[in-house]
Amino acid sequence: MSTIFAPASFLKSAIAATLLSSTAILATAHAADFRLGVRADALTIDPIASSDNSSIWLELQVYDQLVRPSKDGSKLEPAIAESWTISPDGKEFTFKLRPEAKFSDGQPVTAADVAFSLQRAAGEKSEWARFFKPITSYQVVDDHTIVMKLDKPFTPILNNLALFSASILPAKLVQQQGDKFFEHPIGSGPFVLKSWTRGQGEELTKNPNYWEKNKPSIDAVSIEVVPEDNSRVLKLKAGELDAITDVPYNQAANLKTDADIDVHAAPVFRVDLVQLNTTKKPFDNESVRQALNYALDKEAIVKGILRGNAKPTTSSIPVMAYHNEKLKPYPVDLAKAKELLAKGGVPDGFKTSMLVAAGDVTARQVASAIQASLRKVGVEVALQTIEDSSQFSTTKSGNYEMSLSYATSDTIDPDQLVGFTAVNPERANAFHTQWKSDRVNQLYADERQTPDGPERAKQFQEIEAVVHEQAPFIFLYTPNSAYANRKNVSGFEVVPTANYVLKDVVVK
């Protein structure tokens, strides 16, 4: 009996063919100067419809705003507006636009474009309308001058104008094209969106008309979506990417040993905490809440799970402008914790449950550590994983006891997070803890009308102190954002508002 195939030789030739094709492919060079690997793809590039980081970060490359946060997140600096003045009563803002600012199609950026864009951002279709509604009128003085008026002072408005959602769009084109505009968007930012393959990434090219001299330094960027953390790291190591964001903490140390790679940790305006539902016993008791804070070994979590890429926090406000330096994180003190538990009426501890986002590996690990830590004072925590996207709606409905979560700030002003995590009633009823402090509410109302300065600083610092003391949360830490690039890249940065900056990137 004879055979008609010889499997061995077939396999050999198949392998040979594969090898040949792979070397051929390795030889083809990438068109882009700079290849960035990110975790998720943008969903949209319409600034008023964005709420996910990927979309926001992409928009920040393509569009420009009147003002922008400085890279260190400490203050606002001029962007399209080269200067601005605020009336003494804080109700009138006058912006002077840069005459050299142009959209990527060469058209100048005018005051009319600004008025249109901000009115759109405050409009019905906008998801960010409340941030701009305090502005009651726009007055186009000339092509390069615009005056905005408020009914009453609203200090955070300037910071809101630095938000991506306040991006300046070419009024005429958006009006003409409607939604189609965003298929080929035109902005005045440093880059132009050349192509976008959904789920795969974007190709950006330099905006030749960008107002900042000699920026960007590179001609083209490709942003590649690599959802898996490990793959992103491996691709960086393999040289398939020049830089990546969201380096998993547990990989950062290992990555540092690679001679070709620089790893960075950027502090960002985010705070991780455990929400405590103060409508439920025993979380209604301040002593119990403090006890939990004393019982938890935050340092161990930071060291063991975040590999040092975080700092324990004192309140629900991250370290940013107007931070209260005098506060210190709750120390680990089991005796104190037990004493406080006894004072709160639960000397032997209690049983409770904690929501954890299912998709977040770090959160799951931190939850395990919290579970182990609290067990030492007799508090048995059952972990209850929950679909990431429904965690917010679940805590909002009040149907929880503890919930491991975090809050981030889109602006460099603490107003946003104070409103979100400490004020009740307000947008989130103190981040769904239902904790309420009349003092904090009063301070919040005051701070919004107080011009920037030491007066406003005092107000914020008192808010922080109250939150720290009454502990509606277990305060955990404020993490760094780890990112990495190959050594031949410089100027790639993640800034405190967590977005990356590409315009200063130089590739050697």
Partner: protein
């Protein structure tokens, strides 16, 4: 009804697949039952002092990034996974076989309606349907049971119905009908014992598919929820350490392969053993 005839015993003795398969099954069952008390580590105990230890005598499967003993976790996960798989296989087997039996035996419009429905469900890829259902209802063990039952019964229904259609034409069935036996008796005593073999054999193959399915759900974060140890989740968690902690992902995967191999062997063996010789 005589199941263990001498003939069967003789055939079992020659059936290497089944012997090896049953041996491995015994190993798996015993490990799940007694393993947790033999391994001196708590599968959920964090030990920040000993992260990412390579396999040694102390930790035969090493430790993970949080210092947990991988062996303890693999064993604990085995208990969880095997339990889930057992329910996810048995429920659809019972539902599907019953529907297939009734549909095939009575034929007519009942059969047409059921089979149309089966055709439609059949078009949805297994993973797509399971993931959509679990995703929609939320990841919980009950929902996993529900999703698998809703999806997998059609396989059993198709298999049993096909066999019933053949058996219904066989002369012993005709004879039972001529003898005036009730439909229930004909179905349960004459048809069912003779058609269930392929379904049982497929059930073994289904164990393999189900263990892959359940662990895939875990891998995607849609399955059994941490901190309950689960093989798919462990593999997913180990991905980040594939270079300096390959053992975290390797061993749970090997456990899955072992289970798969075991049931494939048992399936092949049962096929040989139960197929009636003319």
């Amino acid at each position: 009804m005589k199941l263990l005839s001498q003939e069967t015993v003789r055939r079992f003795k020659q059936n290497r697949n089944l012997q090896v398969g049953l041996f491995l099954l015994a190993v798996i069952v015993l490990t799940s039952l007694f393993g947790p008390s033999l391994v001196p580590y708590d599968p959920e105990e964090l030990d920040f002092g000993n992260p990412l230890l390579a396999p040694t005598l102390q930790h035969p499967f090493g430790t993970d990034d949080l210092g947990r003993d991988v062996l303890a976790r693999v064993v604990a996960a085995g208990q969880v996974d095997m339990q889930v798989v057992a329910v996810c296989v048995l429920l659809p087997f019972l539902i599907g076989s019953t529907i297939g039996l009734v549909s095939g035996y009575f034929g007519g419009w009942i059969d047409r309606v059921i089979m149309r429905f089966v055709d439609i469900l059949w078009a949805f890829p297994f993973y797509v349907l399971v993931i959509s259902i679990v995703g929609a209802l939320g990841p919980s063990t009950t929902n996993i049971y529900l999703a698998f039952s809703l999806v997998v019964w059609i396989s059993f229904a198709r298999i049993v119905r096909g066999e019933v259609l053949l058996a219904r034409r066989l002369e012993y069935t005709l004879a039972a009908s001529v003898l005036g036996y009730s439909h229930a008796r004909i179905m349960l005593r004459h048809i069912l014992p003779n058609v269930i073999t392929p379904a049982i054999v497929f059930m073994m193959a289904d164990v393999v598919l189900t263990i892959l399915g359940v662990t895939s759900l875990g891998f995607l974060g849609l399955g059994i929820q941490p901190p309950t140890p689960e093989w798919g989740v462990m593999i997913a968690d180990g991905r980040n350490f594939i270079q300096d902690g390959w053992w975290i992902s390797l061993f749970p995967g090997l456990a899955i392969v072992l289970v798969g191999l075991t049931f494939t062997l048992i399936g092949d063996g049962l096929d040989d053993l139960l197929r009636p010789k003319a």
